[in-house]
């Protein structure tokens, strides 16, 4: 026990803040990430995070709290994606990519101008790779509240979101306003990405969004269970990452901690790779097409649960 929890871990203020924020971030990203993976929007989620970098570095330039910068840029990017139509497959990756490139260019400029102004180095590192141990306690209520709101929105829309993820046409036929649901979902995604950006850095927030959800969706086929597994996996990775990062001050090179983000990402990855090992043995006797269906199979289950037909998993 003593080897894992170095002395002073739980009495340290920054660590307690980090554990609390980390929990909110992991649960929000875990739940929302399930929809991101189901909707095949990994690239959109990652782009949102990268565009948030621009906001974070802009906030750094004008001296605001980075979270507000992440949030503003994330929501603006979500609105832009909705406008260019992320639902439309054709050409969407290219349009996303071009917007992303321009936004990253602007981030480069902001960071450069910021470093001219304040002469503090390391801002680019904080924006890109996060610094969960230096979150000021003043922002914690705002972070927790944003996470709860995002979770609430997604929970309220869960059924409809699942349906629009399977088949927008079917949802439309049943009188669902697909566009509105899409906007609400993207806004929640923007909030969750901004939270993750504060915790483990803008470019790494994808790890918490995609990793635990992809792992969960490989382990279970039920969407509700997937959300729970995903939130728990994310939580475990984040907390363990924080503890290991705290311990790493005692590792070589001496007196220099390893970044939390690295541990979180590595643990998330380990979880995903483990999901490859385990179900393979259980699944072997089933139909060979099982694997190809993947997320569609889950969605099909959801659609059946929602009382619809025709969304069964049929191998192409």
């Amino acid at each position: 026990m003593h080897y894992l929890f170095e002395p002073g871990l739980f009495s340290s203020g920054p660590v307690r803040t980090a554990l609390l924020v980390g929990a909110v971030v992991a649960v929000t990203s875990g739940v929302i990430g399930v929809f991101t993976v189901l909707r095949g929007q990994s690239f959109a989620g990652h782009s949102l995070a990268d565009v948030a970098t621009t906001g974070g570095s802009g906030a750094f330039l004008v001296g605001l709290n980075q979270f507000w910068g992440f949030l503003a840029a994330g929501i603006a990017a979500a609105a832009l994606m909705e406008a260019i139509g992320v639902q439309r497959r054709r050409g969407r990756d290219v349009a996303t990519g071009v917007v992303l490139g321009a936004a990253l260019g602007a981030a480069a400029l902001f960071l450069y101008l910021g470093s001219l102004q304040t002469a503090t180095t390391g801002a680019s590192f904080t924006v890109l790779f996060g610094s969960i141990f230096v979150i000021s306690p003043d922002t914690v209520p705002a972070l927790v509240a944003s996470g709860v709101i995002a979770l609430f929105v997604v929970a309220a829309l869960a059924r409809v979101l699942l349906l629009t993820s399977v088949s927008p046409d079917l949802a439309r036929a049943r009188g669902v306003n697909v566009r509105l649901v899409g906007i609400a979902y993207l806004a929640a995604l923007a909030v969750s990405v901004s939270l993750a950006a504060v915790a483990i850095g803008a470019v790494l927030s994808t790890a918490l969004l995609i990793g635990p959800s992809a792992t969960a969706l490989r382990v279970t086929k039920s969407p509700a269970r997937a959300m729970a597994v995903s939130a728990l996996t994310g939580l475990a990775a984040t907390w363990l990452g924080i503890v290991l990062a705290y311990d790493s001050y005692y590792w070589p090179p001496h007196g220099h901690g390893w970044p939390v983000s690295f541990f979180v990402v590595a643990l998330v990855l380990v979880g995903y790779l483990l999901s490859y090992v385990r179900p393979r043995a259980q699944r072997a006797p089933r139909s060979p097409h099982e694997d190809e269906c993947g997320p569609e199979a889950i969605v099909a289950t959801a659609a059946t649960a929602a009382g619809t037909e025709g969304a069964t998993c049929s191998p192409a």
Binding site: H46, A106, L111, S124
Partner: protein, 272 residues
């Protein structure tokens, strides 16, 4: 300065060519992930005190092979590949964060690796860049026809016995090679703009593969040259100009397509 200019021109030519295929094959995300991941290799190499190019080559290749190995085929392939790509990307970025934080000289080094630097290219780096550039160009030239076929008509390619999966892997490796030489010049985050912006602009103007590829190279060269000149004048980061000029060319391309007669529209289903 001259070194940078030579290196950047080589980079632009290769980015134009590989970018054309990346856009055609719908591998925008991969084109984003491999350079970003390669950044970790550069950080690791500078930690060990070896030439960053070798760190870049190793990480870009590992990233490409990892994405290729875990990637899927058949239905739902794109969504699954995106997940794998995203995870490979964050793993490599996380390693990069670790390397950068362990090495003491982080702020400057990270910044120039991520966002590029006009004076970032030394004389010793030009030769490996040229070598990798030629290798990437030859690799694409040799496999031009199967690459085109699997990009545009995967079913036909399969019917003719060309494995789409093998071509995917082949192209990923070429992209990794192209990436390794680009990162020191335009930076990891912006390499991607240089691949996607010009290629997308070119494709919206013409549907003929040869013409689109040539145009893509020309636009990439124009982007890089303009960026270097502007960056030299203003002292602002090179990446900023590459990103915005690339996006501007894309918008011009879209406008040109809107104005031009309908026959210039790209073939159906070619864009992911």
């Amino acid at each position: 300065m001259l070194n940078t200019w030579i290196a950047a021109s080589i980079v632009a030519v290769i980015a134009g060519i590989t970018g054309f295929f990346a856009v055609l094959r719908g591998q925008t995300f991969t084109a984003h992930a491999i350079p970003n991941g390669a950044f970790a290799g550069a950080a690791g190499a500078s930690l060990l005190g070896i030439n960053v190019i070798w760190g870049l080559v190793v990480f870009a290749l590992c990233g490409a092979l990892g994405i290729g190995a875990l990637g899927a085929e058949g239905r739902g392939r794109k969504a699954r590949n995106d997940v794998v790509t995203a995870l490979a990307l964050v793993l490599m970025l996380g390693l990069g964060a670790l390397f950068v934080s362990i090495s003491s000289q982080y702020a400057e080094e990270t910044y120039s690796l991520l966002f590029g630097e006009v004076f970032g290219v030394s004389r010793g780096e030009v030769l490996p860049i040229l070598g990798l550039g030629v290798a990437a160009a030859v690799a694409i030239g040799v496999a031009f026809r199967p690459l085109m076929l699997t990009s545009a008509l995967p079913e036909v390619a399969e019917a003719r016995g060309v494995s789409t999966r093998r071509m995917d892997l082949y192209f990923l490796i070429v992209m990794a090679l192209a990436t390794s030489m680009t990162v020191p010049v335009v930076g990891a985050l912006l390499m991607f703009s240089l691949m996607i912006g010009p290629a997308a602009a070119a494709r919206s103007v013409t549907a003929r593969p040869g013409a689109a590829m040539a145009l893509s190279v020309v636009i990439a060269l124009a982007t890089v040259w303009l960026s270097i000149a502007l960056s030299y004048q203003t002292n602002w980061p090179l990446g900023f100009f590459v990103g915005t000029i690339g996006a501007a060319f894309y918008l011009i391309g879209l406008a040109a397509r809107a104005v031009a007669p309908r026959r210039a529209v790209a073939p159906r289903g070619a864009v992911g």
